[in-house]
Amino acid sequence: MIKKFDKLLIICILSVLLTGCWDSEDINKKSITITLGVDYVNDGIEFSGELAKLRSSPSESGEKNQASGVYQLLSYGKNFEESRRHYDSINPYPVFLGATRVVIFGQNYAKEGIEPYLNRIDHLYDYRKTLLSVVSRETPTELFKIKVEKDISVGFLIDDIMQNLEMRGEALYPQIGEILSDIALGHVGYVLPYIGIERGSIKYLGMAVMKDSKLEGTIDLENTHGVLYILAQNPTLVEVIPSTKNEKNQISFTTFIKKRKIKTDYIDEKVIINIDLDLKAQLRYQYYPEPVEDEDIKKLEDMISKKVENDIVSTMKKAKNEFECDFFDFVRYFRAEHPEIYKKIKWEDQFTRADINVNVKTKVINRSLEDPNAKKKY
């Protein structure tokens, strides 16, 4: 009897196998989206983007094993769903978002608030939550029109630029996941990379400050140092300091963060934030070689400290007065240190009134194997 049952089971499994393959969908039968742009045009949502070109057109001969190009996509609708329906009705294959590198928000849309789309990304399963999102000065459609020769496509170009800058510590690479955590935390803003077209090519322009997921303002590339010193994982910035002796001469330093300490306190119903930065600096070169004595180094160290301090303080001022939002995540530190007080206060109000003390110390650790003080014998 049992033998029969076993056979029955096997037959059942076979039938499942034969009727199966519910989810099987080959990757080459999907539209692989590399970049997606979201913008707000004429009271409707406009999706634009780039799809990987999998089949080389008959004119291009030869085997190609790398994605050689992209198609552009464009669809409209009153909301995401309608826009998606529009997309589905003009494209042959279902969309696949697992390979998406960048989501570009147009400035118009960013001003309206990007949170709905971020939540959409969060809950569409095939979207990665590690992708980059940027705000674009121009509309995404304009960006996609640019012919890119340096990389495979616009999306790849933006992603590669940002990755490179992040690696060198010159920019932030905020992933959707981190932003979602920030939104869930509340009370804080966040910054996104701000890009645009300049002289025909795509350029990283600076940072876009988002408050309540709405574009509040931008920070120019020159002024991002202050943000980077606080937020970047390991910022490696170049600081140029005029020489103490010779006005014409400039000395170029690379700075690294040795220690970054953020302490918060709550005294007299006022939030106090102390930022201690320990910097290491490396003398790269001088515009005109001059001897650098130990006293000069001391002076230079002070100058670097002062400069960095000014950068940070001015950014803080901007954050407090202009944007009125804490995009430095200070609230996390405050909550970690004073969880009880945190429950009682309203952070947004407190932050604008907070005292922020910045204290920077710099130490020049080397002169990059060069000896500017060498004595000539003759």
Partner: protein, 364 residues
């Protein structure tokens, strides 16, 4: 057919049965109840679990070569034993059926969107049936091998997730004022340890299972506690305690927020996590299904084990399709876990006390 398990195998059986479906939503539950101080609640939960595991192990250790059916007969008589057995059988049966349904729903909602639930249930049940008819010895071996694989890969993955998390998300580590909340949260941390009642159906062998068994099992529970803490903390470090509470599939959501560039083509960890998660569910299912069928076969002495297993599987398949919505399944699972406190805590404690009072432990 008497099969003896080594001490290590029994410890791994515990790992297999305890770590399973619950890991998916564990970070959410802990963060919801105790915030960033969740590690403390888990520690308390672990120590409570150790007490009950000690009771269960002691019962099995004193009553060598006996399972709960025999020693309960000896201690409380036939009638009460039958009541106990009915509770256990229904508990084990419902537990594994509902876990199957729940896992299928989770899989359907995350990876296999178009696959019908019955097909997933069917594949689960067919592999469970195959394992159950090979008996406990084989299941223990599977648990040992899979357990090792799960442990090693899970620890590596969670440590590497840590490197991508932010330490600031884990703070405050401990808030003195919240201690009452932590203690309240302890109840939720006991549920992930349910499954220890599997020890009631494992009979110890005089030669194989000496005093060291207590040490093995205690270490395993401590390990599971630490493992849970690692999972919870690594997930919170990436998502933040505020964000994670919105995700029932906290573990998978966390994984999808992490790309580890240095691992090259393993950069995205979902595949591995999904694999080991299904493996750990399978271990749980094997043991619980085996427990229910084993106890039924004890009650109906003359029945054929294979036939019984087949009937139970078909029943389970039907019962698994019954709940109409996910919420219903969750509701049932919650009720079952309350029964679990009875089966893992109350009944063993009663038997333990009787053993102590009647001094059976001295006689052996």
């Amino acid at each position: 057919m008497k099969e003896t398990l080594t001490n290590r195998q029994i410890a791994f059986v515990l790992f297999g049965v305890i770590v399973g479906y619950g890991v998916l939503s564990l970070p959410k539950n802990i963060a919801e109840n105790a915030g960033t101080g969740g590690w403390f609640t888990l520690l308390i939960g672990t120590s409570i679990a150790i007490i009950f595991v000690y009771i269960l192990t002691y019962l099995a250790y004193v009553h060598k070569n006996k399972t709960i059916y025999e020693y309960s007969n000896l201690l409380v008589g036939k009638f009460i034993t039958y009541i106990f057995m009915i509770i256990y059988i229904i508990y084990f049966f419902m537990l594994f059926t509902m876990i199957i349904r729940m896992s299928c729903e989770a899989i359907k909602l995350t990876v296999l969107i178009k696959t019908p639930v019955w097909a997933l249930c069917f594949s689960f049940l067919s592999v469970v049936y195959y394992a159950v008819i090979k008996r406990l010895g084989t299941i223990a071996k599977i648990c040992e091998i899979y357990g090792l694989m799960i442990m090693v890969s899970a620890i590596i993955i969670h440590l590497s997730i840590f490197t991508h998390g932010k330490l600031i998300n884990l703070r405050p580590f401990f808030v003195v004022e919240d201690i009452s909340a932590y203690l309240k949260g302890t109840l939720t941390t006991v549920f992930p340890f349910l499954g220890i009642e599997i020890l009631t159906i494992i009979s110890f062998n005089k030669k194989e299972n000496n005093k060291k068994i207590f040490k093995h099992i205690a270490w395993m529970i401590v390990f599971i506690g630490i493992f849970y803490i690692l999972v919870v903390e690594s997930c919170i470090s990436v998502m933040g305690a505020d964000s994670i509470i919105y995700y029932k599939d906290a573990l998978i959501s966390t994984i999808r927020r992490v790309d580890i560039k240095s691992l090259q083509f393993l950069e995205r960890l979902d595949g591995i996590i999904l694999t080991i998660w299904i493996m750990s569910i399978l271990c749980t299912l094997f043991l619980e299904a085996y427990a229910s069928i084993f106890l039924i076969s004890k009650v109906f002495k003359k029945s054929n084990f294979k036939g019984l297993a087949f009937i139970v599987m078909i029943l389970s398949f039907i019962v698994a399709q019954m709940p109409k919505s996910l919420d219903e399944v969750e509701q049932i699972l919650e009720y079952i876990s309350y029964v679990g406190i009875v089966t893992a805590g109350v009944i063993p404690t009663i038997l333990f006390l009787i053993t102590k009072v009647k001094k059976y432990d001295k006689k052996v």
